[in-house]
Structure formats: structure tokens, C-alpha cells
């Protein structure tokens, strides 16, 4: 297993914003994570890759506080955060987009935006930022979110990342079921957000889309990280992990 290269920008930034250390997690009695280690620094984009059911989403659920690890540590800005509720982490600057669509389908676009103010920004700020970035949503502000197209729904979900100014951004399969053009647009946004100094962790089943923006990659197979490193160092390992890991 390869250690992650910590980005070497400034001394202050080298401290990991988010770190999972030897995390084990279980659904009921069935353990699905058998010791996950990763860390991501400010401005870094870590892509968790791996086949279906490998433990990518579960790792993110641990990181976001939705699941409490059975052992191991969740560190945010060096603080031990095991057992902290997702809403507390969220207000402290962690922004999580869960798999599926991270919106409320029975609320209107403006009502969805209204709920993005828990982080502290005002309603006007949220709407301004969102509508400037996604003018399409402005046209549909009164519409019930469930009736938006898949791409528009994901834009609405991503709007939260704009307005809450997070320290950590966790993205779970944001490309799922979307047209390639929209996916490209979303990832462009991810790159921008990271450039502003946000630590990003994203889980993707299809590696190619994520590798464009990732500064680091970790391959998760069967609840373990089998390889990690910078994206350009990885292709051989990756193929290995997929073929070797899955076929075994």
C-alpha cells in the first residue's frame, strides 16, 4: 500500500483537514470497512475509486458522521470527531452530497435553497450565488424540485457547496445518471471549489471522470484501500486493483 503524498504548498496547509485513521465500520454484525486510512489537505481532491460495493460510500458516511466507526478515528482539522452528529459536522463546515440526489424532491427550488442557510449565510446570499452560477435554477425557482431534470437537480444539490463555504466537501457519485456534458460542468465546479482551498473527497465508480480533477487517488476494494497515490502514478496499479481485486 502506497502512502498518500501530502501536498507541499505551505506549511499551514500540510495539516490534513480530514483524516480517517484505521476506520472499521459495520452494518449490523457485518463489517464492511476493514481499516480505511486516508487524509486530505486543504485544496486537495481525493478520489475514492473502486467497484460497486467496495466501501466508498460507507467511507464517506463515516467521514460525514452518518455512520459511527466501530473502531478507528475520524479527525477533522486535527480534532477527534467520532460520534459527532452529521448536523453538527455540517454546521462546522463539512458539506456532504449523498448518493442519489442531495435535495428535497417535494420542496420547491427556493425552499431547498432556504434550507441551505443552516450554515450561517443568509437567504439572499444563497439565492444570489446559486442563481449567478446556475441561471437555469432561477427560471425554475417556484418549481417542486422533484420535477426538475436530473442535471438541474444535481445543480441544485451542488448549489449548497457554493453557498456554505465549506472546509471539507464530500461528494458521493455525483455523476450518477447524468449526461457527460453536465458531469463535465459539475467537475469543473469541483475543481474551482478545491482551488479556493476546500478539501474534497469524492467517490466515483467510473474512474475516468474523477481523475481529471483529483490530486490524489485511493482505490478501495472489499473494504480496504489497496492502492493510493497521485493520479498519474496510478493507472497500472488501478488496472491491477480492478482486475486482480475484483476477480479474486
Amino acid at each position: 500500500m502506497v502512502d498518500l503524498d501530502v501536498p507541499t504548498e505551505t506549511a499551514a496547509d500540510s495539516r490534513p483537514v480530514l483524516e480517517l485513521r484505521d476506520v472499521h465500520a459495520a452494518y449490523g454484525q457485518i463489517e464492511v470497512l476493514h481499516g480505511i486510512d486516508f487524509s486530505v489537505a486543504s485544496g486537495g481532491v481525493l478520489a475514492l475509486l473502486g467497484p460497486n460495493g467496495a466501501g466508498k460510500s460507507t467511507s464517506l458516511r463515516v467521514a460525514s458522521g452518518q455512520m459511527v466507526p466501530t473502531s478507528g478515528c475520524l479527525h477533522v482539522l486535527g480534532r477527534h470527531c467520532n460520534g459527532l452528529k452529521p448536523d453538527a459536522l455540517s454546521r462546522a463546515g463539512m458539506c456532504t452530497l449523498p448518493d442519489g440526489r442531495g435535495i428535497f424532491p417535494n420542496l420547491t427550488v427556493t425552499e431547498n435553497l432556504r434550507l441551505m442557510t443552516f450554515g450561517g449565510s443568509t437567504r439572499a446570499q444563497v439565492e444570489e450565488l446559486t442563481f449567478a452560477r446556475f441561471p437555469r435554477l432561477s427560471e425554475r425557482r417556484g418549481q417542486v424540485a422533484g420535477t426538475l431534470s436530473g442535471g438541474e437537480q444535481q445543480m441544485l444539490a451542488m448549489a449548497r457547496t457554493l453557498s456554505v463555504e465549506p472546509a471539507v466537501l464530500l461528494l458521493d457519485e455525483i455523476s450518477m445518471g447524468l449526461a457527460p456534458m453536465i458531469v463535465a460542468e459539475l467537475y469543473e465546479l469541483v475543481a474551482q471549489i478545491a482551488a479556493e482551498g476546500v478539501a474534497v473527497v469524492l467517490a466515483e465508480q467510473f474512474a475516468a471522470t474523477a481523475l481529471g480533477v483529483a490530486t490524489h487517488v485511493a482505490v478501495v476494494v472489499q473494504g480496504r484501500i489497496v492502492a493510493s497515490g497521485t493520479p498519474d502514478a496510478l493507472p497500472d496499479d488501478l488496472a491491477d486493483a480492478y482486475l486482480g481485486g475484483v476477480a479474486a
Partner: protein, 637 residues
């Protein structure tokens, strides 16, 4: 004209009170996803609290109102949500129904204990002072009721659509976890919504209390009348709920005022219809609802108790009959009768096993079917003729099928409410009739004699009941192991999956309803025999509620659950039985499958631990039942 204005005003006032109650239901449902059957009971409890404050403790009425509505009721609502509702928030409709029904029973039992029945009067605000409106005298209380209803409607609208807390409350129903990821506190939202619900229930209870005697049952049922209004708003729309409530109030008032009372119109069914306007409306509104979309069932892990084999069910049956045959010799005469009643009640519970336990269709009118059975027995069972029993099962089956026919398109909660509406209508229209149970409201029911075999003594009748129970249970279990039983389970698991398999459930639902009603009818005839009388007040809707609760608590999908349920209802001391039953229902949150299946599994494990032998059952069934819930809740990464 004067008369018309008077009835209109009465209707509007009653409608406004219904509106307050119905809007409370809608708020709780649309912000916590749980239909609170106990809404009426909470209003009733708070009306008693208000009476306690304002009458014996001499707190000024206005202050007592504020204390009850703004402090005590919200606290109580929050308490209920924290200790009870939170545990079942993701459970199936039948479990949430049973838990709120259990809460209803607890509250009725509690109020009966704290405030023993006696005449209590709540005075209207500002007494009987009032003003003249178009020649009709209106007391201030009536005006206050209407104003409060409108203020609440506007206030709720603003809260739910204009404030972040309100929007978050609606969001929690969509996706509870996501609210947390947005930084909101989902648990606080739910607690808040139950506080508001309880507060509104208390307003409704206090406002209607002056026009009625302060009686736990009457007040609880009155709010049930508000269900029709809530249903007009499809449990979502507050404005439609308000309109629906006014319609229910006006129609009830006009029915009271203008229904002819002479000749044919004076018969009990027609006069009962007057009282049943809300129930009939509820039934109609439910049928007019657009068909809900098929949802694929949520994957739930069952405890996985294997269905009893033929040999095992016969063993159980023989054991039951033997135990009763031996046991009756050691019981005092009073307990022998109680045992008979318990066994017959157990049969009523048994009627729900195929319907609710296996088929997943909740019915709240089993006692109504039992009443039909008792009625048939009294008409056709002279001299204990077996035709009485046949007629009992047959009549109940036919009525069951007729009720099921329009209700086939309903599911879950709506089906339960439709059966509840049917039972309430029968309470008013059928059972009080002199044609049914005689002029003094009770008739003698004879015990059957079969093929020259008389079971007229209490002891022999108990044994006979045990034989009937055993035979029915063995038969039902045989059915469960067959293809019809598998279809029932499939129906419960996922109607959507059944549809994709090309399996039409229409006939299945109709058959299982008729079967269940037939068993309940037979049970009713035998229950009449066990008590030797059947009365107009023995088969009310409210008596169907404990039947469902005890069965589900004991284990809704197993026949022995019905037996234990019947024994619990029969032998628990009267007066506190509601407390026991309700309390047990409340525990249900932790064990949605009931207590017996868990006990059986523990027993199995213990037995196998003591005498190691080949384990032939699926080992998964024995795998950590405590953790099963956690596993079911999680989705693999």
C-alpha cells in the same frame, strides 16, 4: 329561514372545531409521516387537564387555556415523540398504526384512572353570553371557535411555508438524513411537529368540551370524525382540510336539523346515519382518492421463524386442547367463564392473522364482523343449531367481501381508516337497532350443539372452544404453507413485485378479507355463547382496537400470538387492561414482530444449546435478532 341560519351557524362552529383537530392531524402527518390515531385521545386528555386546572383548581379559564395549549400539550407531544414515535419512525404502517392505537388506549385508560367517571362540565368561555346574528343568538364561545380555527389555519400556513423551521419540518418527511447533512437538526424538527400537533389537539378538545360531557370515549371519537376532513386535504393540503372540515360540520348539522323523524325515517339505521355523517364521508372520500402508486416494499429483515409444519401445528393443537381440558378442573367457576371468553376473543384475534399478519392488510373492524356473527347466531342458532354457526361465518364473510370490494384499491393506512369508518357507521346504524339485539339491547346467545354433542356447560364449552381454535389454527397454517399463503406473504412484502410477476392481488385480497371476516363472525357467535348474551355495545369500533394491538404485540403472524392475545384481553384485570395493552404496544417499537417470535427463537437456541442436534432450520434465522433491525436499516456501500 331562521332555522336554516341557526343550523348553518351550528355547522360552521362544529366545522371549525373539526378544522382545528384535522389541521393538527395534517401537520403531524405531513411533518413526521405518521398518522396519529391518538390525536383525539391527546385532545381528550388535555380537555381533562384544562378542566382540572379551571374547575377544581380555580385557575382562570383564559390562563388555564394558555397553560394547557402552550405549555402542557406541547410538552406532552414532545414527550410522546421522544419516547415513542422516534423508535418507530421508519417502521411499517401497521406498526405505526398499532403504536398510536396503543397510545390511544393508554390515554383512555389513564384518564379513566385519574378522573373516575362522574359528571363534569366545562363552561364555555364567557359563559352563555353572546350576541344576535341575523336573529340567531350566538354565544361568544362559538365566535371564538371560528376565529381560533381561522387564525390557526393562517398561522400554520405561514409556519410551514415561510419559516425555515417549517420548511425543514416538511423536508424531514422527504429525507430525514439529508436534513442533518444540510445542518438542520432532524430530531428537533420531529419533536417540534408533534408539539404543534398535540397543542392543536388540545385546542380542539377544549373547544368542543363544553358542548359535550367530559367523557374520554366521546371526546376521543369526536376527533376521529375529523379524519374525513383531513382526508379531503389528502393529509397534505391545509386549505382543503379546512374546507373539508366545514363541509363535515355543515352536513352533520343539516342532517340533524332536516332529517325526517317520522315513519320509515325513524328507524335506527336511518337515524344512525345522521350520527354517522362524518364516517360515511370518510369512507366516500377514501374511495374517491386517486389510487396510490405502487411502491416497492422496503426491505425488512424478518425474525425468520419458520412456519410450523403440519406435525408441529397438530402437536400445538393437541397441547392446547389437553391443557384446557385439564385446566378447567382447577379453575374456579368465574375463571372458567373468563377462559371461555378469552378463547373466543383469541378466535377474533386469529381472524386477523391471515389478514394482517400474513397479508399485511390492517383492519379495524374485526369486532364488527364478530357482532354480525353473534347477530346471525341469535337469529338462526335456535337450540344451538349448527346452522347458526354457518350463518354467522357466512353473513360475516359476505359483509366482509362487500366492505373489501370498494376498499380493494386502498392500501395500508387508508384501508385501515376505511374499515374504521365502516365500524363506526355500524356502531351507529346497525347494532343499536332493536331488530338486531332486541329492545333492551341484548339477546341470549345459545351454545352450539353438534351432532347430538352438547357443550352447554361452561367447562365443556371451554374445551369445545379450544378444539375450534386448534382446528382453525391447523387449517390456517396448512393454508399458509400452500400457494395461497405464499401469495399473502408476497402481497405483504411488495405489491409492486407481485405486479411485475403478473400476480393479480384483487382476488387474493377479496378472499382473505372474506376468510378473515368469516372467522371473526364465527368467533363472535362463540363469544356470544361464552358470555351467553350479546349486546349492542359489545362489538363497537373501539373494541376492535385492543384486538389488533394485543395480536401484534404477541406476534401478529403466528397463531399462538392470537391465543396469547385473547388470554391477555380476557384475564387482565378490567379497568387497567387498557394501560397494560397500551403499554405493551408501546414496547412494540423495539420488536415490530411481536414478543412471541423472539421468545420462540431464544427458546429454540436454548433448547439446541442444551441438546445439540442437527440444525435443519435456516441458520440465518438464528443470527442475531437484536441486530437484525440495524442490518435492515443499512444499505450496502
Amino acid at each position: 329561514m331562521h332555522e336554516f341560519i341557526a343550523y348553518t351557524i351550528i355547522g360552521l362552529v362544529v366545522g371549525a372545531a373539526y378544522a382545528v383537530a384535522a389541521m393538527g392531524l395534517v401537520v403531524t402527518y405531513s411533518t413526521s409521516g405518521i398518522f396519529n390515531i391518538a390525536h383525539g385521545a391527546i385532545g381528550m386528555l388535555m380537555a381533562f387537564v384544562f378542566w382540572q386546572l379551571s374547575v377544581p383548581w380555580h385557575v382562570p379559564a383564559g390562563l388555564a387555556f394558555v397553560i394547557t395549549v402552550f405549555i402542557l400539550a406541547p410538552l406532552f407531544g414532545a414527550f410522546v415523540e421522544r419516547v415513542l414515535i422516534r423508535r418507530v419512525s421508519s417502521a411499517s404502517v401497521s406498526v405505526t398504526l398499532v403504536v398510536t392505537i396503543a397510545l390511544t388506549l393508554v390515554l383512555i385508560g389513564l384518564v379513566d384512572k385519574i378522573w373516575p367517571p362522574t359528571s363534569r362540565v366545562v363552561a364555555p368561555f364567557f359563559g352563555n353570553h353572546g350576541f344576535n346574528l341575523l336573529g340567531v343568538f350566538v354565544i361568544w364561545q362559538d365566535l371564538i371557535t371560528i376565529i381560533i380555527a381561522m387564525a390557526i389555519a393562517i398561522g400554520l400556513r405561514l409556519l410551514l411555508f415561510r419559516t425555515r423551521a417549517g420548511i425543514a419540518m416538511r423536508g424531514v418527511v422527504d429525507n430525514r438524513e439529508l436534513i442533518g447533512l444540510f445542518g438542520g437538526r432532524p430530531s428537533r424538527s420531529s419533536t417540534f411537529s408533534w408539539s404543534i400537533g398535540a397543542s392543536l389537539a388540545s385546542v380542539a378538545g377544549i373547544l368542543v368540551a363544553p358542548t359535550l360531557q367530559l367523557d374520554p370515549i366521546i371526546l376521543t371519537l369526536l376527533v376521529i370524525d375529523a379524519y374525513a376532513a383531513a382526508m379531503v386535504g389528502r393529509l397534505r393540503s391545509l386549505p382543503m382540510t379546512f374546507v373539508g372540515a366545514l363541509a363535515v360540520g355543515l352536513l352533520s348539522s343539516y342532517a340533524t336539523g332536516y332529517f325526517p323523524t317520522t315513519g320509515f325515517w325513524n328507524s335506527t339505521p336511518i337515524q344512525g346515519l345522521k350520527l354517522s355523517v362524518p364516517s360515511v364521508l370518510l369512507f366516500i372520500v377514501l374511495l374517491a382518492l386517486p389510487m396510490s402508486r405502487l411502491r416497492s416494499g422496503v426491505q425488512r429483515r424478518q425474525v425468520g421463524l419458520p412456519t410450523a409444519s403440519l406435525a408441529r401445528s397438530i402437536q400445538g393443537g393437541v397441547l392446547l386442547v389437553a391443557a384446557v381440558a385439564v385446566g378447567v378442573n382447577f379453575l374456579n367457576p368465574g375463571n372458567v367463564v373468563t377462559l371461555g371468553i378469552s378463547l373466543a376473543t383469541g378466535l377474533v384475534c386469529l381472524s386477523l392473522v391471515p389478514l394482517a399478519g400474513w397479508g399485511g392488510q390492517v383492519s379495524l373492524c374485526q369486532m364488527t364482523f364478530a357482532g354480525l356473527g353473534a347477530f346471525a347466531m341469535s337469529k338462526f342458532g335456535h337450540g344451538g343449531s349448527i346452522f347458526g354457526l354457518v350463518a354467522a361465518a357466512g353473513l360475516a364473510a359476505v359483509v366482509g367481501a362487500i366492505v373489501a370490494l370498494p376498499a380493494l384499491r386502498l392500501r395500508g393506512l387508508y384501508l385501515a381508516l376505511a374499515t374504521m369508518a365502516f365500524a363506526t357507521a355500524m356502531d351507529n346504524m346497525f347494532f343499536p337497532s332493536a331488530v338486531v339485539f332486541g329492545f333492551n339491547g341484548s339477546v341470549h346467545i345459545e351454545r352450539p350443539s353438534l351432532f347430538g354433542l352438547h357443550v352447554s356447560t361452561d367447562k365443556s364449552f371451554d374445551i369445545f372452544l379450544a378444539v375450534v381454535f386448534a382446528a382453525l389454527a391447523i387449517g390456517l397454517l396448512a393454508m399458509r404453507r400452500g400457494s395461497f399463503g405464499r401469495v399473502l406473504i408476497a402481497m405483504k412484502d411488495s405489491e409492486a413485485a407481485c405486479a411485475t410477476l403478473g400476480l393479480s392481488l384483487t382476488m387474493t385480497k377479496l378472499l382473505v378479507f372474506a376468510l378473515s371476516a368469516a372467522i371473526a363472525g364465527l368467533a363472535g357467535a362463540l363469544l356470544g355463547g361464552a358470555e351467553s348474551v350479546a349486546g349492542a355495545t359489545s362489538f363497537l369500533m373501539l373494541q376492535s382496537l385492543p384486538i389488533l394491538v394485543v395480536l401484534v404485540v404477541a406476534g401478529g403472524a403466528i397463531c399462538s400470538g392470537a391465543l396469547v392475545g385473547g388470554l391477555a384481553l380476557g384475564f387482565l384485570p378490567s379497568g387497567v387492561e387498557y394501560l397494560f395493552i397500551g403499554g405493551a404496544g408501546v414496547i412494540l417499537g423495539a420488536n415490530p414482530e411481536g414478543l412471541l417470535p423472539i421468545a420462540y427463537l431464544r427458546g429454540n437456541r436454548l433448547w439446541k444449546g442444551m441438546a445439540p442436534r442437527d440444525v435443519d432450520g435456516p441458520s440465518a434465522a438464528l443470527l442475531g435478532t437484536d441486530k437484525a433491525g440495524a442490518l435492515a436499516g443499512g444499505t450496502a456501500a
